[in-house]
Each structure stands twice: as C-alpha cells, then as structure tokens.
Subunit: 334 residues, 2 copies
Amino acid sequence: MLRPKLLSSISSINNFSRFRSMSFQKEIHSIKTIETIPSFRSWRRQFMKQDKQVAFVPTMGSLHEGHLKLVKLASEHCPIVVVSIFVNPAQFAPNEDLDKYPRTLSHDLELLRSLNCVDTVFLPKVKDIYPSGIPLEIEKQKGTFVEVKGKSHQLEGTTRPSFFRGVSTVVAKLFNIVQPDHVFFGQKDAQQCIVIRSLISDLHFPIEMHVGPTKREHDGLAMSSRNQYLTPEMRNYAITLYNALTTIKDELDKGKRNREILLSKGYEIVEEATQKVKEKNLGFELKLDYLSIADPTTLDELQEIEEGKGAIISGALFVGRTRVLDNLLFNCTL
Amino acid sequence: MLRPKLLSSISSINNFSRFRSMSFQKEIHSIKTIETIPSFRSWRRQFMKQDKQVAFVPTMGSLHEGHLKLVKLASEHCPIVVVSIFVNPAQFAPNEDLDKYPRTLSHDLELLRSLNCVDTVFLPKVKDIYPSGIPLEIEKQKGTFVEVKGKSHQLEGTTRPSFFRGVSTVVAKLFNIVQPDHVFFGQKDAQQCIVIRSLISDLHFPIEMHVGPTKREHDGLAMSSRNQYLTPEMRNYAITLYNALTTIKDELDKGKRNREILLSKGYEIVEEATQKVKEKNLGFELKLDYLSIADPTTLDELQEIEEGKGAIISGALFVGRTRVLDNLLFNCTL
C-alpha cells in the first residue's frame, strides 16, 4: 500500500511494496533501506506475527549477476526478501584489501530495485555490528567470535587463517538480526557454503540454507566483485584457473580417479599460462595458491575419488595481486 | 485444558497447562517435558504467532533454591516459562567432574512442578546439541564454537581455560533452539553473567538478560549443585570463602579503597582456616584458587576501587577436591 504522506519524510530510497500472495511479485516503486538494528528488528517483527517466511541474501555489495541470481532464487522461496550489504572487516587480514574493496552502493541499490523482488536492503554500520570494535589484528580483537573447527583451516583457510572466523562471526550476527527462515549463498565460495552449513546445523539456527550456482562470464570466468581489480591483460589470464579446474573435471567425467594424475593435468595448464605471462613480460605474475580435490563433507584432500562420494575441485590463483578463486563440483552438491 | 485421552500415551510427566493471561498463573497438573529439538521448535512456534513472550532459565539440573528463585523471577516477566536441564560436556575439562556431576532428574522435575509456573522443561541429548560430537580434549573438538574474547581468560578462565568457550557455545545453541525473549542467570556465576551479556550484545541475540541474586544457606554459603560433594567437616570450612569476601566488602563499605589492604584482609581469613584444617588433620585441605577485586565491565583487576565504578569481589577456594565459588558486588550490578 502506498503511503504518500510518509514519502517525503524518508530520506533513503524506499520501497512501499504490496505482497501478492501467490506470485511473490511486488509493485516496486523504489527500494526500502534500513540502516540500524532496532529499525530492522521492528520492521522484521511484523512478519513473525503474520508467520510470513523471510529469505535473506547476505552480501558485501559490489553486486554482479551472481548476486542478482541468488536474490531471484530467494524470491522464489519466500514472500519477503532481505538483502544485506556489509563489507565485513573481520574477514580481512591486515595485509588484505579492506580499504580498496569496491563499494558501489547506489549502483547496487539500482540493480536490486530493478529485480522488483527485494523488500528491504539492510545496510548496517561497522560500529553497530561490532559493538566491541574490530581491529584487523586478530590478537587485538575483543568480543564474541564464532569458529567452525575442522572446516576453516584448510584450502582458503591456509592462505587466510582467520577468514572463516570472520565470516562465521558476521553471519551469526546477521542471522540474529535478520532472523531469516531461508538463507542463500553462492557456490562460487564453496568452502564458505560448507562452513556456514556447519554453523547453522551446529548452532541450531532455525534456518534453511540454499546454494545458488556460480554465475560465469562468457569465457567461463566466475563472476566476482574482485574481478574489477584486473587489467584487460590480467583478465585474459584470469581464466587459467577455470581452465585447470575444467580439465580436472573432464578427466573425472572420463573415469580417471587418481589424485596425482588428475592434479598434474591442472598444474600443466597453470604452468603453461605462467610461462607465457613471464615470456611476454606483461608486468604481472601468475602464481598458483592451490589446486584441490577434496571431500565435499569433511574438506579432506582425496587420494582416490569415489563415484558415490563426489568431490569439490577447487583452486586459487594470484593474477598480479588479485586472488582468483573458483570451484567445480563432481557428483556432489554443497 | 486437560486432554485425558492423551495422558496415557505420553511417557514423561506432562503439563497440560492453561495460561491465565493476567496473573501468569497456571493450572498445573503435571509438568511437560520435551526431549528433541524438532518437538521443541514446533511447540515454541505457537507463541511466535501469538506474539507471547518466552522466558528461559538454562540449567545443568541438580536444582536448588537458587534455581527455583530464578524460575520464579522468570515467571514474573513472561507468560511462558521454559527451563532446560542439560549437563554441558563442553564446559568440563578432561580432569573435571563431568561423570560425577549430580544428575537428579526426577527430583528436579518435582521441584519445578511444585513452582506451578513452568510450561516446559527442555531435556536435550548431548548428540543432538553437539551433532559434530564433543570430545573433552579441546584439540580433538570439531564443529562450531563461540568465544567471548577479553572476558573469558581471567578469574575462572585462569583455572578453567576452555570453560567459558563451552558455556558460550552451549548458550548460543540453546538460544537458537529456545528462542527466548528473556533469559535468566544467577549472580552466583558473576563472570558467566558478564560473558553471556557480551555474547548477547555482540552476536545481537534479540534477548533481554536478567540476573537473579545468589541464594545462600543460613550461614551465608552460596547454594551450588557441587555443595553436595562436601562432607559435613568440609561443609563447615566451605564458608571460609564467603567470610573472606564479606570482610573485603565490609572494608569497602567502610571506605577503604586500596587493593592490597583489602585483599590482605581476605587472605588472612583464608590463611587462618587453612591452618586450622591442617592442625586438626581433617583429611582434606583448603587451598585458595584466587581472590579478586575486579572492574564489573572489563573484569580487569582494580588497583584503586572507585565509588562510581564499583567492583566485583570474587574468589574460588578448593575444599578438598570441591571448588567453592562465590562473589559479592560493591556498588554495581551485573
């Protein structure tokens, strides 16, 4: 219902939507944003009384088609859709890119508005999410932290040891504020999906988790907010990781099961591209962080890949200073 | 409303209560217990739709008057009262008393029933609360853990380094299952109150916390489930800690403000009792773990006690192998 009397008094772009019960479509005139936790809580409360399900897509903004696809998926599951945009300091190490992480709020809101299915965009402040403060140096941090032991130290956790502690902590906080019934994460961050699934089940959050597929550019490069760090030359070589993962996946599909043989196919591709970049003297380097073929439940590296169990084929590649991350699934889901 | 048809088919002692909206009194015929998380969730759901507030008192059972007072306090705040009984393995170190911790379920249920204000007693199983398992050796633990950094390592945390990690983790789990609006803890465990208050505020649980006063025996000994470990001789000397704390508090009340002078008064009392036990050759020892005068917000030890800030005067004393814990508050609340 439109409430024209209020329109002028609200500064942010607001969405006065009406929920059409069957189609999950909304009359969108603009998009509602909420910046404080108390305001969000009081907005959220109405749907509890009405017993209306809420879907939640947490993001760090700088939205691309991958995010938008997740939001659409969310709107197919629930009548109410909440997207949060919050660049979470706790998941950045002091040497990482917190300061330069792309922040494109008005464009993000425009994109979300165009979807016609978002009820509220939650835009919390760092000081509200972390009332005890959040220095990047882990030994200086005070306050409550959440850690998923056994699934946070390997793969991404090797290069980024407190990354998943930061992710798990902010996700727990956002869950308690948004109180969603369904939550949506992208397959692009496969280990994150596994960590969050454990977090939900171990801490008994009353939330159902969904994983949306990785959205890719025409050549296969996984969409990522960090792709905008890449120069055109770097962009050409960023696809190397996807090529390596695809080759391993193809070999698995053909029936190959030996870890060393499978990985060697991937290493070859990376090595070839690395040499080419070096020879052409392009002013940056390719540097493989890791290639992995891991158990989709435990994230343990697999020696022999079993048909029934499946595997996550994943890797990370530094293209200059930009870390490209990707994965493919063999006979499993996240 | 009594539903006699069902009575015979339910094995646990059940409570078919009717809520009288104004007085928060219930017609209690027996007491309802729920053992599984899905059953609890479906029972809980009705009160969300009805927008009825739920009060929660988490316990480890072996209930005494201190617990009962908390439950009564809870019933004064909310129309619906939930008590949980769960001996939490994660807060016991391998050398501690998990196995012999007193378990007195039928007596506990009888006590709760006599209060006529408890709607449900939640009795979860270890395997349900810890789906990833919970070995006592911390380095073997897997799954999600919650830690309140900056308030968990001192005082009780010095002697019991993973105690508050265990407490914080189980409390976060229980909060997500019970989804209370109000939660009640006893002042007896002062540091626990401070840790849980941080947990609630840092993780943004939509829960209001209340602290109930310490219930004491006629001579002042704080009631505790572990007091039953004490032989009559030990019981006589268990009061030593309370005497030391009271003396420090009296000195503060008289205007004394110097930490060393205040603590020395407490140490004297402990020393005297320790000597007496030794001389009488009673077959056990008194051994002071610590005496503390700490800031009620940060738990830092105070050098000078400021009137405005107040202090937590606390301590722990081993009486034989039983650890007696107590505290008094000076010009502050928890």
